[in-house]
């Protein structure tokens, strides 16, 4: 998502303000709750205290009554009644008067209100023996208060309307004991509710909306600061349902408003257990929580102000940041469009100012380098164009040259095929020639030899010595001619024969040839040394011919030696094997070494060392056909060494 700086800044400000507002409302909620708690608790305290006072006042009345039971007159009257075991027909006796006088009227005078509405005294049988009001019932022992008082010392009944006195009040029953603590009678008193209400009236607060309500445990109103009907049932109201346990506070609707209610239940006082009355103190929350409301209002106001201020600040700050940035951007765009003179006018000395300065510097350098660059580009373009032109010229030349080469090649190929054809023809002719030489040249020779022999045999007596010598010359010449033809044919055949290349055990081959040669001239004593020759690749039959020629030469030219020595060596260098055949024969003059391998060239006399002059030419031809070299080193009268090389590995031989 792409956002402008301004938007981003405003958004961040808003986030901060929002956080502040959330915090403020949290404070408001907490303070409201705290305030509510504090008011609620103090109201509970008030209710509890008031309730205790009410219980205390009820207990005080009980105490007053108990004290009254010890009154001498009362004791005497009760005991008298018990002793008489008959009821007093007239209760308008001294006791009644005394009670009326000293008790009811005394309190009326003391508090200004009527506290005890009626006092009634019975003997141990329940018979009324004194009363302050008019009495209709003679026997009281069937009454609840009577039985309860006799059983447990006293009894207190919940507030109710007393028909006899015509007031709302509490009925108290007090057991009357004699000095030994024996039950002698019961005293009844009706305590007016006004006395109790008086205590409730003391429950006041500083709040205007405070309302106090005293209720019986089942929800009937005994007292209220607002208008109420006595013993009006309010248990159906909303707030009443929330009263639980001995005390507490809560917020509920009351009188159409939201109110904070605190309540406390009567716990009794000393031996008086209490009725479980409930005192409720209510306030309008609007009033009691006003400080919190004020705080809320202030916070809301402050929040609104800070939001406005924040937005404005964000707007202006972003404006102050983005404006120069936008300017730089616009300048950069213009720069990109090619206006290299564009500069930014920013005067601020913060990072934005530095940015602008850097931008201006960059633009300046760009402009400078661009100018330089344009110059260079122009120069280079010119150079390139020149070079291009040269290159095109070269390309044309190359093409021309290539075409020429192609043409020459074609011509060459044509010539080669022409030559090849010619060579094939020549070769065929040569073949035919050698065939006829082989066949036809020999026939006349045979005839010459044969017929001269026949002449010799058949005309034995008619030919003299000289004649026989001459016949012999004819015969010898014929022999020579025969050999010559054979060798020449062999030589020509070697040139044409197909090479059959195999791995040759050179050591074995040399020994084989040497042995054969030795057997063919048993009269020669020659020491032949062969030193473990490396194998080679070639045509075995042809290489055999090489060894045969070189060895027979070595044997031939060592004939004058008493101790003829022939040695064959071999070694490998790289892919090439070299072999040497050394003799200690007559040797030759190195000046003539060029002629050595030529056909019919002989370096020695035919009578001394007979030969056709073809052997070495044949050797050379064979070795050359194998792709090898052959050469000789010699010293006159010392001996000769022939060297030849062959491939030591298969691929080098191609025939």
């Amino acid at each position: 998502m792409r956002l402008r700086i301004r938007t981003k800044l405003i958004a961040s400000f808003m986030v901060i303000v929002l956080l502040m507002i959330v915090l403020a409302f949290y404070v408001v909620v907490v303070s409201r709750k705290t305030l509510q708690e504090s008011v609620g608790k103090s109201s509970i305290f008030l209710a509890d205290e008031t309730m205790t006072r009410i219980d205390q006042s009820i207990y005080l009345r009980l105490e007053d009554l108990q004290r009254q039971t010890k009154d001498l007159l009362l004791q005497k009257t009760v005991l008298g009644s018990n002793a008489a075991s008959e009821s007093l027909s007239d209760v308008n006796n001294d006791l009644s008067n005394d009670l009326k006088e000293t008790f009811i009227q005394f309190y009326e005078r003391k508090y200004g209100i009527r506290i005890f509405a009626e006092i009634l005294v019975t003997d141990e049988y329940g018979a009324t023996i004194a009363q302050t009001g008019s009495s209709t019932d003679y026997k009281q022992d069937d009454k609840e208060w009577w039985q309860a008082a006799r059983a447990s010392g006293f009894s207190v009944s919940d507030v109710a309307y007393d028909e006899r006195t015509g007031i709302h009040g509490i009925v108290m029953g007090i057991r009357i004991d004699d000095e030994e603590g024996n039950f002698i009678g019961v005293m009844k008193a009706v305590v007016a509710s006004d006395d109790i209400i008086r205590e409730a009236e003391t429950a006041t607060t500083e709040y205007e909306t405070t309302a106090v309500r005293l209720m019986t445990t089942d929800g009937r109103v005994i007292y209220g600061t607002k208008a109420y009907a006595f013993l009006e049932d309010v248990s159906g109201e909303e707030f009443f349902e929330q009263i639980e346990g001995s005390s507490g506070y809560f917020v509920a609707k009351g009188r159409g408003r939201e109110r904070l209610f605190s309540y406390a239940r009567s716990k009794g006082y000393k031996s008086y257990a209490g009725f479980g009355w409930i005192l409720v103190v209510g306030h309008d929350t609007r009033e009691v929580l006003r400080p919190a409301l004020v705080l809320t209002n202030r916070i809301v106001t402050a929040s609104i102000i800070s939001i406005l201020f924040g937005v404005l600040a964000a707007f202006f700050i972003s404006r102050s940041i983005s404006k120069p940035v936008v300017e730089v951007r616009n300048a950069a765009e213009e720069l990109a469009r090619g206006n290299l003179d564009k500069r930014v006018a920013v005067t601020s000395s913060d990072e934005i100012g530095e940015l602008a300065d850097s931008f201006n510097e960059m633009a300046g350098k760009l402009s400078e380098s661009y100018t330089g660059l344009e110059e260079k580009v122009r120069e280079r373009t010119e150079e390139l164009e020149k070079a291009n032109l040269q290159l095109q010229v070269q390309i044309i030349e190359r093409k021309k040259a290539a075409a020429e080469i192609r043409k020459l090649n074609e011509e060459l190929e044509q010539r080669v095929s022409q030559r090849t054809a010619e060579l094939v023809t020549v070769n065929k002719e040569l073949e035919a020639f050698s065939y006829s030489v082989s066949h036809d040249l020999r026939a006349p020779l045979r005839a010459i030899d044969g017929f001269s022999r026949m002449l010799e045999e058949d005309y034995v007596g008619k030919i003299d010595g000289e004649g026989r010598r001459r016949l012999k010359v004819i015969q010898d010449s014929t022999q020579d001619m025969g050999k010559l033809i054979d060798n020449l044919l062999e030589f020509s055949r070697m040139g044409r024969k197909e090479l059959k290349t195999w791995r040759i055990d050179m050591d074995c081959l040399a020994r084989e040839v040497g042995e054969e040669l030795r057997l063919s001239i048993p009269e020669r004593k020659v020491e032949l040394k062969i030193k473990q020759l490396p194998p080679a690749f070639g045509d075995r039959a042809m290489i055999r011919e090489v060894f045969a020629n070189l060895l027979s030469n070595a044997f031939k030219f060592t004939r004058p030696r008493d101790k003829a020595l022939v040695e064959i060596l071999g070694w490998v260098e790289g892919k090439e094997a070299t072999y040497s055949v050394t003799d200690n024969g007559v040797g030759f003059d190195m000046r003539y070494r060029e002629k050595l391998f030529q056909v019919f060239q002989r370096l020695h006399g035919a009578t001394e060392f007979p030969g056709t002059g073809i052997g070495l030419a044949l050797v050379q031809r064979i070795i050359q056909r194998h792709g090898g070299r052959v050469w000789a080193e010699s010293k006159l009268d010392k001996g000769t060494t022939f060297y030849f090389t062959l491939a030591n590995e298969k691929e080098k031989v191609d025939g």
């Binding site: 066949h439 036809d440 026939a443 045979r446 005839a447 017929f451 026949m454 054979d486 044919l489």
Partner: protein, 151 residues
């Protein structure tokens, strides 16, 4: 040379040789081994075939009287030696007649071809007369006296 030839049916050696000097030398060599009077000489391939298969000039001949051995030169007028050899060896009736090629050619080609066609021997005529005498004498003795063949 016909006058020198023996009766056609008593021939033991048929010599096919166009060169009269070689033929004379051969005859002399055979003579030395006392075999000359049983030799019949023809000077070209055609005559040789006519003689063997009793055709043409030799139509009167009985083919059953085959020579004991045929000495055959390769280079012959009209029909050459290899052709004569092929025809002899291709025919049931003549296949068993031993044929010895007696030639000046040392060419391997000729030798291989002759053996392929079923020649019984291949002898190169030596230039040296002594050797020639020995060779011819030995082959005559061998094929006429030592060699046995089915009747």
């Amino acid at each position: 040379m016909d006058e020198k030839n023996v009766a056609e049916n008593a021939v033991e050696i048929l010599l096919v040789e166009d060169n009269p000097r070689d033929a004379e030398l051969t005859l002399r060599a055979l003579k030395k081994s006392n075999l000359a009077n049983k030799v019949y000489v023809v000077e070209d391939g055609e005559k040789a075939l006519n003689y063997i298969f009793a055709n043409g000039d030799y139509a009167h001949r009985n083919m059953a009287h085959a020579p004991k051995v045929i000495l055959l030169d390769l280079k012959l007028p009209k029909v050459d030696g290899l052709e004569v050899l092929r025809k002899i060896k291709a025919d049931e009736r003549t296949r068993t007649i031993p044929v010895v090629v007696l030639t000046s050619s040392r060419e391997e080609r000729d030798m291989v071809e002759s053996y392929k066609l079923g020649v019984n021997s291949y002898i190169v005529k030596p230039v040296d007369f002594d050797k020639f005498l020995d060779s011819v004498g030995e082959l005559g003795l061998y094929w006429l006296l030592l060699n046995q063949r089915p009747a």
